[in-house]
């Protein structure tokens, strides 16, 4: 998992990306694209969400047991996994799929919809 940062050296020069932080212990096989939730522009509130099917690209979806990862986006040294869904909770599927975050709830699509959030 790598966080990149947009660098704008000079208004006359094009912007480019540089590596801002990374965690080499966190790698995926065929994840969906990540989405980010935050409260405004406050990086300390930002969470990065990834749905990982835990299978390689050529593997059958039938044997997949996806995992939902939540990553603390604010850490500058190591991006910390603050939550991963229990193993085998999500149904087969989830390949290349991105979770949806709205109003305190994270929705994942596999062979069904599962909702995550703060428990009462």
């Amino acid at each position: 998992m790598v966080r990149t940062r947009v660098v704008t050296p000079d208004p006359s020069q094009p912007a480019y990306l540089t590596i801002d932080a990374q965690d080499n212990s966190l790698s995926f096989k065929s994840p969906g694209t990540a989405v980010i939730s935050s409260n405004g522009n406050d990086l300390t509130t930002a969470v990065l969400w990834v749905l990982e099917p835990n299978i390689f690209r050529g593997d059958s979806l039938g044997g997949s047991h996806p995992t939902l990862y939540a990553v603390d986006a604010s850490s500058m040294q190591v991006l910390q996994v603050v939550y991963s869904s229990p193993a085998n909770l999500l149904g087969p599927g989830g390949k290349y799929n991105a979770p949806t975050v709205a109003n305190g709830v994270v929705y994942t699509g596999t062979d069904k919809i599962t909702a995550f959030g703060l428990l009462q």
Binding site: S38, Y107, T108
Partner: protein, 165 residues
């Protein structure tokens, strides 16, 4: 578009846990869905619609906006502290997979779920009742509208779009 166009496949099982309300229609762009069933909670809240839960946060397309930013910058509940505080978990999980195709192949959701925070029913029975709805499209050509607040994850709406090419 007629009601109960779902051919009664898996909805028959899922419907055991819900109160069915037939003949009602939900108007929601871009498709008018036939309302085949709805959760009991919905009926209970007719006198007290869920307006208090409406926030205006919507996720209407892949990665949320036309720039495909994938960024919901209006999330006030989930943050590293709350998510990592040990109180984050499964709110609801659909008890059964979605509908497979006619050949017995299982469903998969390749499209990201969409979320609409304020879908207002126009049926006389549920007139003015706002819904928070998750839309899901499967590779078996079904599109579902699911009560986002429903703890049982039931399917209030399903539309079959025919055999894929």
């Amino acid at each position: 578009m007629r009601a109960a166009h779902h051919e009664g496949k898996n909805l028959a099982n899922k419907g055991e846990l819900v109160t069915r309300i037939r003949g009602a229609f939900l108007v929601c762009a871009p498709v008018v869905f036939a309302l085949t069933s709805c959760d009991a909670e919905t009926k209970r809240t007719q006198s007290a619609p869920r307006a208090a839960t409406i926030s205006g946060v919507n996720w209407l397309m892949f990665h949320g906006d036309r720039q495909r930013s994938g960024w919901n910058a209006n999330e006030t509940i989930l943050n590293p502290s709350s998510v990592g505080g040990g109180n984050f978990g499964v709110l609801w999980d659909m008890p059964n997979p979605l509908d497979g195709d006619g050949s017995g192949n299982p469903p998969h959701l390749y499209a990201a779920p969409l979320y609409v925070d304020n879908v207002v029913l126009s049926t006389p029975d549920l007139s003015g009742l706002p819904f928070s709805v998750v839309f899901a499209a499967s590779n078996t050509n079904y599109v579902y509208a699911i009560c986002a607040k429903d703890p049982s994850g039931m399917i209030p709406l399903a539309q079959y779009f025919g055999v894929s090419f």
